[in-house]
Symmetry: C2
Subunit: 327 residues, 2 copies
């Protein structure tokens, strides 16, 4: 299927994660022409990170033979709420940033205009424009990995909310007074269904002697249970892993119903590492749970779909976001 | 404070409830010039209800000396999700309506154009335009009575959602696998914090012998515990009533945080019979609970305010809604 033209010129999108920088140069239809991956080296401080971002942008321009005047704009996703007026990253525990003026500093560095937003908002925008949400106007996205990020788009626009925390669907409460979350609250979806929560529950069960294939697969290193390990154990029929992951998917279904009953999107998209690994297994459970929690016809004909863009969602969304304002 | 002009001509707003019809004729600034209250007589069927609505409209026009040509439009709120394209009320258990073409029938009856929406959406629009939400662009409303209704407005527009069930904040789940709700799901806010839920919990406690002033106040009729009775018992220091109402307010605070973390409104407004009776007592608990459940700065400087328009909210919102499209 020929994609429609999105931009008047090629765009650059950058996904700054806690540990890595992923940069794409895309053509007018959102096809990747060049990519660059490097470590973020966050421990060297914010300005060092920005230098590395600039270098990754040089990289993709060199690869594609484009000069600055050929580029429509640069978009950047950061793992932090962002003050959109100033392009300031408000707080990113992983990068050690607090009120870091990332837009102003990067523009100075690049001598190009930059548009910054929260990474998960941009991942949602990527799926909305180029992925599973193509052709819709309203979408909610859940990205389930170490934590659970979210994004909400209403009538084609990212919902940022009064204090730039809109779309934090991983921090909606589905279990009043439930388990403690990393955010300090209790009963958040992230506290029951993220990989951190799943790891906590697995470790507790294992230390209580519930048998599991994980004992062999992990070789005593139970602190980092990767999605690939979970996938292997789940597919091999491990009862403990199935019980805990299915419960997580059930809870995600409740959160899917909640945003649906609240604002009724056209589609809900679910991605992130856990669903890249086990989406085929877990999406049916999410759907079954959501079905039981929709209010009346709220979920009628509303797809609950796996994300399609994988690791590229944020960088693609960043490119789209930059084009919306800059080009 | 002089109110600003909202309409080019006077408007009529009608609140059709399960048992009553409340109709207002308002001037260009939203001030009520005439009102009419009558029973809905829903048991006589939909067309009989519409005749009574027409009669209530005649009433307010006669009172104010206005003719049809003086009126900018008629708005109607109904206790049902509404298909906005056709003005059809999809299902209203209380009125016994299913797919009832209320807009077409009423327009034929009145020979005037009518705009129909869900009553709680319009109550939220009323508060947004003329009540506690004046001057904002984004609002969430909770109306706590027998059940819990909700409404969401983003960027000045009511969110209806894909299947016309947007804003059903009473049917978001705050307690996974919790108590059964009248809607058939489990753990909805309505199942833990509505007057139905409160009555259920009070009856259970009373039948277990927990002492309460309600034993005297109710004279053995525990089936209908009105907000006025709850208010008296709460204010007289009844420990059981306080425990159960405070828990309900705590749960409402969680739902307030959920919609805030999801879309970050400018204000959350709480109304309905229970909060008209006990708002001063319960709003501080809602605020305290929300404070503990906001994600980071999500709730910063966001008022959680008591509704201001009381019983007139829906009729006023209906008038505003009609003007937005018709005048």
């Amino acid at each position: 299927m020929a994609k429609k033209k999105l931009f008047s010129r090629p765009m650059i999108g950058v996904d700054l994660g806690a540990t890595k920088i992923y940069t794409l140069l895309v053509d007018e239809r959102g096809n990747a022409l060049a990519e660059s991956k490097m470590n973020a080296c966050g421990e060297q401080g914010g300005d060092a990170v920005l230098k590395r971002i600039a270098s990754s942008i040089d990289n993709v321009m060199t690869q594609s033979g484009a000069g600055k005047k050929d580029i429509g704009g640069v978009g950047l996703g950061v793992p932090s709420p962002v003050d959109l007026k100033t392009g300031t990253a408000l707080f990113s525990p992983n990068l050690g940033w607090r009120n870091f003026p990332v837009k102003a500093r990067l523009e100075k560095q690049l001598k190009m205009r930059v548009r910054v937003d929260n990474d998960v908002n941009l991942g949602t925008l990527g799926e909305f424009t180029l992925g599973a949400g193509r052709g819709t106007r309203n979408i909610a996205g859940f990205f389930v990995g170490t934590g659970i990020g979210g994004g909400v788009i209403v009538d084609g626009k990212i919902i940022h909310g009064k204090n730039n925390t809109g779309g934090e669907l991983g921090h909606t409460i589905i279990l009043a007074d439930g388990p403690l979350c990393g955010c300090g609250n209790r009963g958040c979806l992230e506290a029951t269904a993220s990989r951190i929560a799943i790891t906590r529950d697995l470790q507790a069960a294992m230390s209580n002697g519930i048998p599991t294939l994980l004992n062999n697969l992990l070789a005593h290193d139970t602190d980092r249970i990767k999605s690939s390990i979970l996938k292997k154990a789940y597919k091999d029929g491990d009862e403990l892993v199935r019980a805990i992951l299915d419960r997580a998917a059930w809870h995600i279904g409740i959160a899917v119903a909640n945003i649906t009953n609240s604002i009724g999107p056209d589609i809900v998209v679910i991605g992130g590492g856990l669903f890249e690994a086990l989406g085929q297994q877990l999406i049916p459970i999410v759907r079954r749970s959501a079905m039981l929690h929709f209010f009346g016809p709220a979920g009628k004909d509303m797809p609950i779909a796996l994300a399609e863009l994988g690791d590229a969602a944020v960088a693609l969304g960043a490119a789209v976001n930059a084009a919306a304002r800059i080009s």
